[in-house]
Symmetry: C2
Subunit: 268 residues, 2 copies
């Protein structure tokens, strides 16, 4: 039987999902977490439906080998493509980030015109539009795949001379759509929040799914009496399928050098 002391599992295609881990940890400091980033096969956003299903299942089974009580799919592409597939197959409850992102946008938008940016896989799936319409059928949704944002972030390029033309290329249309809210539909994107905000101006609020996902996880655990109320002494475990120096550096930057132990594991 599942017990409160078991860890919460999180997986992502790479390091971006650590932004979700951070928020979960903040809201549930007593919980023990096992994070898996599939850096050996990143990115997922340009890969096919079937490949993302296969990777998502492998990652979930890796987390289940670590005895997790719940799995958070922190990757938007994997959430978009594989959430139902995982929920239909796995005994452990699985939570994605799409509905949470949509709920976050709904709480913010005043004019009911919402934009979404994400990887090719996420945008093609149409899941954000579907989730928004389910929450409120009167919403109008505009979506745009922004394929180069992940490589630009992973390359560590934040200079205006590169970002400005990229933003124009992908986002200029949004400036004419009268949206007041933009969902950052990829766990990497909060890292560009400042630059995106400057480009889009103060009339558009940027939302991501980290906070609402953490809230959803709390509610699910609470409902099933699975919240860990004891202070946790075991340190969290951060696994990457490939952990070169560059990955470790980005991870430590996102986690503010919390001194976590980063391990290699979970690759076939």
């Amino acid at each position: 039987m599942t017990q409160p002391h078991q860890p919460i599992g999180i997986f992502d295609s790479g390091v971006g999902g650590l932004t979700v881990y951070q928020e979960l940890k903040k809201q549930m400091p007593h919980e023990h977490f096992v994070y898996f980033g599939d850096t050996a096969r990143v990115p997922y956003g340009t890969k096919s439906h079937d490949i993302v299903l296969r990777y998502a299942l492998q990652n979930s089974l890796f987390l289940m080998d670590h005895n997790v009580k719940l799995i958070v799919v922190a990757c938007n592409t994997a959430s978009a493509v594989a959430l139902d597939y995982l929920q239909q197959r796995l005994k452990t409850p699985v939570v994605g980030v799409i509905e949470s992102g949509a709920a976050a946008a709904l709480a913010v938008t005043k004019n009911k015109r919402v934009g979404v940016i994400g990887t090719e896989g996420t945008i093609k799936s149409g899941v954000y539009e579907k989730a928004l319409k389910t929450l409120n059928p009167t919403l109008t949704c505009f979506s745009q795949a922004t394929g180069l944002f992940v490589p630009v972030i992973e390359e560590g390029i934040f200079g205006e001379s590169i970002l400005q033309p990229l933003f124009t290329h992908y986002l200029a249309n949004f400036l004419h759509k009268d949206i007041d809210t933009l969902i950052l539909g990829c766990t990497h994107y909060p890292i560009l929040k400042k630059q995106l905000g400057q480009f889009l101006g103060s009339g558009i609020t940027l939302v991501d799914s980290a906070q609402t996902t953490a809230r959803q996880v709390w509610e699910l655990l609470n409902k099933n009496n699975l919240l860990n109320t004891q202070s946790q002494s075991t340190p969290d475990e951060i696994f990457f399928s490939d952990a070169p120096e560059r990955v470790q550096n980005i991870a430590r930057k996102i986690l503010n050098n919390q001194g976590l132990v980063i391990k290699q594991g979970g690759i076939n």
Copy 2:
């Protein structure tokens, strides 16, 4: 015993290696080829040494399951990192693209000042510099990782507004180095040849390794009496570990719609 009728195997991290396949086919039209592009795990250029070794070995064994008489590592990153590793382990001869690229540059340079661009993995390995120095110790070599070129090409972005600042970001230094030759140290890069040429000007000759690699393969087969002199009736086989529409479209574009059958295979 190895026979002339057996196919030549080629692998790459994705679709870029098809530029090498094309040149091999052109120089050896009687040969039968099996190509494998690891699109399910692309890119290799940002991944660690150990992961590239593992993938290169898996890809080579996939080709050996197809009874190849020789393996061409069309991927510069895998050639840079894994060529010795493969040659030490596999009975089938393995040919990389680094020495060929260096030889091509040596044949062109007049002032003996050569630039190299490639992925982070290729440039970090320092193999081009080593290969150039081995060929001619008086050469001076300047290298630069150009991490975003592969994603930009795969995203299909060829507009000046994006490429110009990227070229400036990565290549402006080369314009002050007085190089007269630039090695395109990644099989994707020939796709940007025109735009790179315009940026760098006519004083710098761009070379890639496709032609010299094909020549090296011909010589190796000829020396061992393994050239196929019979006209080949079996169609070549093109495998991708992930073959979504986008991959098929880029592949057909590179191969000028030769109507080849593209198959999915070789992924664990």
